[in-house]
Every structure is written in structure tokens, then in C-alpha cells.
Amino acid sequence: MRCKAILRFVSAAALVLSLGSATTAQAGDAVELTIKPDNIDISASYRGTVLHVEGLAPKGSEIVARFTGAPADLALRQKGKVFNLLWMNLGTVHLQHVPTVFLVTSSQPLARVHGDELGLAAVHNGIKVQEQMANDLDLAAELIKLKQQDGLYRETTGGITTAENGRFSADLRIPSRLSPGTYAVEIFALNEGSIAGSVSAPVSVKLVGMPAWIDDMAKNSSLLYGILSTLVAIFGGLAIGLLCQSKGGAH
């Protein structure tokens, strides 16, 4: 499969733009990346997938692999205590720079390789709260908890193999709860606590087949969609009602 990769310079490392697995890396200070598959098609049978990432990093470095969605603004309800007794929604808060998805895996625990800044801490530091309510609740931390419950944020160790010569491979588990859009796979090579190199490549997620058809109709012919949904429900209900009667017989 053809593979597209975008390359970034980070620190002093010289990075190689790679196209497909045919590209070979030069010296030990480059990070090279191939992703399979390089885009995700969501058909009716989609239930999450695994992205297989392979590449070459500077020798002896630890690998951090991330799958991230584009940052967006998000409005959420904040809960709090009323009259010191009842928990309920107090109002709406607006957060900015919230990645839709943020999945991180690393060959060693991030704390051990001084890579904390690459994990969920990066999300925590990046989120901007537009207006804070009259309490000191850490909204970014609460958001991370909420997204973790949904399986959209994750920080794990493992799924990465590294070899002596700097070759690595990583399996990124992509959740079933995924919306169409452009996501990014990012690889960071960590050497003694500093980033020796990094590379990122876009992964496009799109709906195909029945999901694409339904999504298009729901958004572009919404009145028709609503009426059809109603009619199908009525006829479905009638059909099952009649079917049950003929089987029941007695009535």
C-alpha cells in the first residue's frame, strides 16, 4: 500500500520524508515512518481497527506513538453542588483546543523516559478554558477523565517493539467510536529525556457504503430522512404487530 508521510524537523535531527516502505533511512539520526493502512474506511462492519506503524529511529531511542484528532472547541455542562446537597448541572463551560481523540502508547512508561509532556499532560496543558465558573475545579483534568471513559483518550505502555539497529514497529488500537475526519499518527524518538526526532503522517477516516449513504441523507435531506425514519418505524411496528397476531392465532 502507498503511504504518505509528512515530515517535521524537531531539535537537531534530520528527518527523512518517506514514501512507502521502499524508502530506506540513512544514518541513525532520522525517523522514518510507514503506516498500514494509511486511511481508515468506516463501513457498516467497522468495529475499531489496528494501525500498524513501522519505521527507523535513532539507535537506542525509546518510541512514543500517538494517534490524535484535530483540536476543537467544546461546550460542556459543569456539575456542582446546589445548597450543599444536590449534584446537578450548574451551567455551560467552553473549552478550546480539545483534541477529539488522543491515544498514546510508548515502549517504556512515559514518566521513566522523561516523556510526560508527550502524553495526556500535553492535552492538559494545551486546553484553554474560556470562562471559569466561580470555583477552582480543574476542568481540563475532568475533561480528560470524561474522554477516558469514552475510550477516546488513552495513555498506555506496550504494543511497540524496538530493535538494536533502530527499527521499530507499533500497533495502535483505534477505537470503534470514531468520526470521519483527518487524524494524525505521530512518532517521537526519545533519547535520554530529549526528543531525538519525530515524524507525523495524516490518516484520513471516511465513511463508505451504507454509513456514508445514511450520513449524507441525514445531513443533506433531513426532512425526508425524518419522514422516512417515521414511516419505517410505523410500518415496522405494524408488520411485527400483524406477524405476532398470525402466530398467536387465538386473538
Binding site: L85, W87, K219, G226, H251
Partner: protein
């Protein structure tokens, strides 16, 4: 043939276990067929637990209820349990009430603390209705048959009943076996419509007790007529949600529908075998369980202090 167990739902943006959705639909349909309630109260939170966003869960549930209530209404119609005249009058009131309710909620939001008022009204309402139904049906189940017969006419002569007889535009409701002023179903329908709009629910939980206690309709006709009304309410919600928010997941609704229509048929048959008092006490228990759940949510500290906008 190899039937896939999971399916990706484009509007919900997640893949679900089809067996779980069918089973969930079946369980809620069963309740709907027995008691004439929409069941949105159980369905929406359970769907959220299965990974469906709250707004999509609520809207798709309305779509599903259309199917279940069509199926249930048909089954009850065959048993002679649907009072169309009463149903239409309550519905007319309900639509008017719904419009008023939407305004009221806007006003409450502007005043602040709307959620507090809504939750509190709900808990009180469910507690009162559930408690009263439970107590009343327990009394009549315990009482020997003869004494029930002797207390009934006495209750019939209450000032409430006398007041009802003095209202203008009296009309016979043959199916329900009652004679009432047209104003009663219209007025009560409006009231329930307002409450339902404010609380963001279908209103079955409030409508059923209103028909039993205030309109004095027989329990079995109440169930059938309530289903008939829910059908119309949910058609409205489904179309509005499709247009304004694109939150109706048709595939999710279809899966739920298959489960719930079968459940509703089964429920109707179970309901038919139950005595009216048993039916009332079971519904009362259900109402109290729902109240308990809401109360628990209000009192226990949530795991996460943020929530996506749009749920109940």
C-alpha cells in the same frame, strides 16, 4: 450464514453489539406493552452506557418508540382498549401544552437554576404519583371484594366528581365508559404537555396516572390510549430532531424497534392476564424505582464533574 454481531452506526459515530441493542429494545418494549409508557427513561441511559452520545440516544429512542407504540396500539386496539376520542382530545391539549412548555423552559433558563427546578419537580411528582398509586392499589388488593364494592360509590360522590359533572360540554366516552366535560381531557392534556416539555420526556409516566385518577378511565383502556398518544408525540419529536439536530440514528432505531415491537406484543399479552390492581402496583413500583434513580443521581457525587451537553 454468518451474521455480523457488530454494526457501525454513522449518526451515533460508534459501533454497537446488535444483540445487546435488540435485547434492550425487547425489555423496554415489554414495559411499554404492559404499562403504556414510552420507556425513554430506561432506554436513554442504557444506550449512553453502550457508548451512544446522549443526544443521539434520546432522539433515536423517540424514533424507536413510534414503532413500539404502533405495534402496541394495534394489539390494544384489537382488544378494544383504545379510546380514540379521548386520545385525540388529550393529544390536542398535549400539543398546545408542549408549545407553552417550551416557552416556560426558556423563561426558567433565563431566570437561572432551571435544572434545579426541573429535577426537583420531577422527583416530587414521581414520588407523589408512585407513592399514591402504590398505596391505593395495595389497599384495594388487601381489602375483601365486598368492601371494595361498597367504597366505590362513596368515592364516586366526592366533591371532585360533583365538580366534574357541573362542567359544560359533557360528552360520552364509550370505550372508557365515562361521561366527562370536553374541557377535562383538553385541560389535563395541556398540563401534561407543559410538564413533559419542561422535563424533556414523553410524558407517559404522568399521563397514565392522570387518566387513571383524574379521568377515571379503566386501567386497560388507559394503557392502550396512552400508547396511541405516545405514537403521535414521538412522530413529532423524530421529525423535529432530524431536521434541527441530525441526531436520529435510523439504524439504531430500527434495531431497537425490532426488539421493542416484539416486546410490546408480548407485554400486551402479559398485561391482559394481569388484574388492574396488579398492573397499577407494578407501575407504581416502576415509577418509584425511576424516582429512586433520579434521587440517587442528585445526591451521589458523580465520577466526572463535566458532561456533554444535550442529555437529560
Amino acid at each position: 450464514m454468518n451474521i455480523p454481531l457488530y454494526m457501525y452506526l454513522p449518526i451515533a459515530g460508534n459501533s454497537v453489539n446488535m444483540a445487546a441493542i435488540l435485547g434492550l429494545g425487547g425489555a423496554v418494549g415489554l414495559l411499554s406493552g404492559i404499562f403504556g409508557v414510552g420507556g425513554g427513561f430506561f432506554m436513554t441511559p442504557l444506550l449512553i452506557m453502550l457508548g451512544i452520545p446522549p443526544t443521539v440516544a434520546a432522539a433515536s429512542d423517540s424514533n424507536q418508540i413510534i414503532g413500539a407504540s404502533t405495534s402496541g396500539t394495534l394489539a390494544h386496539f384489537r382488544l378494544g382498549n383504545v379510546d380514540f376520542k379521548m386520545g385525540f382530545l388529550l393529544l390536542a391539549g398535549g400539543v398546545a401544552g408542549g408549545c407553552v412548555g417550551v416557552r416556560v423552559i426558556k423563561l426558567l433558563r433565563a431566570l437561572g437554576n432551571a435544572d434545579f427546578l426541573i429535577n426537583l419537580t420531577y422527583v416530587l411528582m414521581l414520588g407523589l404519583v408512585g407513592g399514591y398509586m402504590f398505596y391505593e392499589s395495595l389497599q384495594s388488593m388487601r381489602a375483601p371484594k365486598t368492601s371494595t364494592a361498597s367504597t366505590k360509590p362513596a368515592r364516586g360522590e366526592s366533591s371532585y366528581q360533583r365538580g366534574l359533572r357541573n362542567l359544560p360540554w359533557q360528552m360520552d366516552f364509550v370505550r372508557s365508559g365515562v361521561r366527562l366535560s370536553v374541557l377535562m381531557p383538553l385541560g389535563l392534556g395541556t398540563l401534561v404537555g407543559i410538564l413533559a416539555a419542561i422535563m424533556g420526556v414523553g410524558g407517559g409516566f404522568i399521563m397514565v396516572p392522570v387518566m387513571v385518577y383524574l379521568l377515571r378511565m379503566p386501567m386497560h383502556v388507559v394503557v392502550g390510549t396512552s400508547l396511541f398518544q405516545i405514537l403521535f408525540t414521538c412522530v413529532n419529536v423524530t421529525i423535529m430532531q432530524s431536521i434541527e439536530n441530525h441526531t436520529v440514528d435510523f439504524i439504531l432505531a430500527l434495531l431497537l424497534l425490532i426488539g421493542s415491537s416484539i416486546g410490546a406484543q408480548l407485554g400486551t399479552r402479559i398485561g391482559k392476564k394481569l388484574h388492574a390492581d396488579q398492573l397499577k402496583i407494578l407501575l407504581a413500583t416502576l415509577v418509584l424505582v425511576v424516582m429512586g434513580k433520579i434521587l440517587y443521581d442528585l445526591l451521589a457525587r458523580p465520577d466526572v464533574l463535566l458532561a456533554y451537553a444535550g442529555g437529560h
